[in-house]
Amino acid sequence: MALRITVDIFSGRPNPVLILEGPEEKEALDRLRPERALRGREARPLPTSTLGYRGLIVEQSGRATRGLPKEFRVANGDVFGEGFAARPADPAFEEFVCGSTGPIRRVHREPDLSEFILKEIKRLDDLRDRWKPGRPDWPRRERCRCAPLYEPDWWNVPAIQPFNNCYNYGCDYRTDTFAQPGRAAGAMYTAFSCASVRPAALADDLMASPSANNRCPREGHLVALVIAPGYDFHWFRKGRNGYWSHKPGSTPVTNVDNSGVTIPDPRTANRGPYTQFCTFMVVMHGHIKIN
């Protein structure tokens, strides 16, 4: 018989593991002896997948001691197993194990580890009070299966880069003519304003999508028109990974804004002089004609 205790705390390095046998094992099991079942809020879930201390994982070899699961977790002073939640005889068992005079001193040589773990035990206590169980808040960045790949190496070559601009790149359409909204349709913009460039792009058969709200369309891909009022227009395009990229004029394609950071939403990107966000539009592959 032995008790294997894993201090579940690290992410990269292995967790400390200690084995208690004989009198130590008996003392530990005495301290862990369930006194009463947890009720109501006492039995609320433990925080999962957090960084830092997550409890002691206790495994009993051989037959399980009566009243305790064969494997359980000690956290927040309580004992949790499958369908099991109890207050033990010693709610300070974790501090007993991990304190500077506790069994953990045998398995590590780092002088500050006990202090670190004790702080982490306290942190878990605080975290559990604020923990709201539910579905993990996974990143919501929408992937766009119809959107073009981010392939700067294809665009950033001498035969292509100088002759294709943000409109070419936004539409994923190489013309080598520094394409201008509306020019192919004989309806080129007349001013550097949203009111003038937007209808010019519509004339090229881009589709209005003012309420796209940064969501990928079912077909085609999303582009965004911004304006440097009175001076220029600029287009961004949303890529297959959900992030935006752009080609500033004759200069190379990039996936960062003027702050040098990736672009989850062009409305909030640092756009330099292109201060006016005009609209989202959709490029249907094969439908548009630009020049």
Binding site: F192, D232, K247, G272
Partner: protein
């Protein structure tokens, strides 16, 4: 206004990387200014750095010589043929910008 697509003429052509949708402004420069720019370049010390202009807005200047060779400059770095040199006083860039005819460059050029 001339554009970056109209730089195939013989002679020295200067321009600024400033726009995205519309063509960048370009303008011809007299040979003596071109030669002066070349003289500035010859005196600059080489560095291992590369220019890092912002993505949008003013991103530097460029100069084409009659043989089609291209120099670019952004603030204190001038690049030609894959070599970058330090121009502490930004003489090259300032000389190119000051050669632009009045009204050629938009105010946003100066905002960087």
């Amino acid at each position: 206004m001339a554009t970056s697509r109209s730089t195939s003429e013989t002679g020295w052509i200067a321009g600024a990387y400033v726009f995205s949708g519309r063509p960048d402004p370009t303008w011809p420069i007299p040979p003596n200014i071109g030669e002066a720019l070349l003289a500035i370049w010859e005196l600059l010390p080489a560095v291992g750095a590369t220019a890092a202009p912002p993505a949008l807005g003013y991103r530097g200047v460029f100069v084409h010589d009659p043989e089609g060779r291209i120099w670019t400059a952004y603030h204190d770095l001038v690049t030609f043929g894959g070599e970058t040199r330090r121009d502490h006083e930004c003489r090259f860039e300032r000389a190119v910008l000051s050669s632009a005819p009045s009204g050629t460059l938009p105010p946003i050029t100066a905002e960087d």
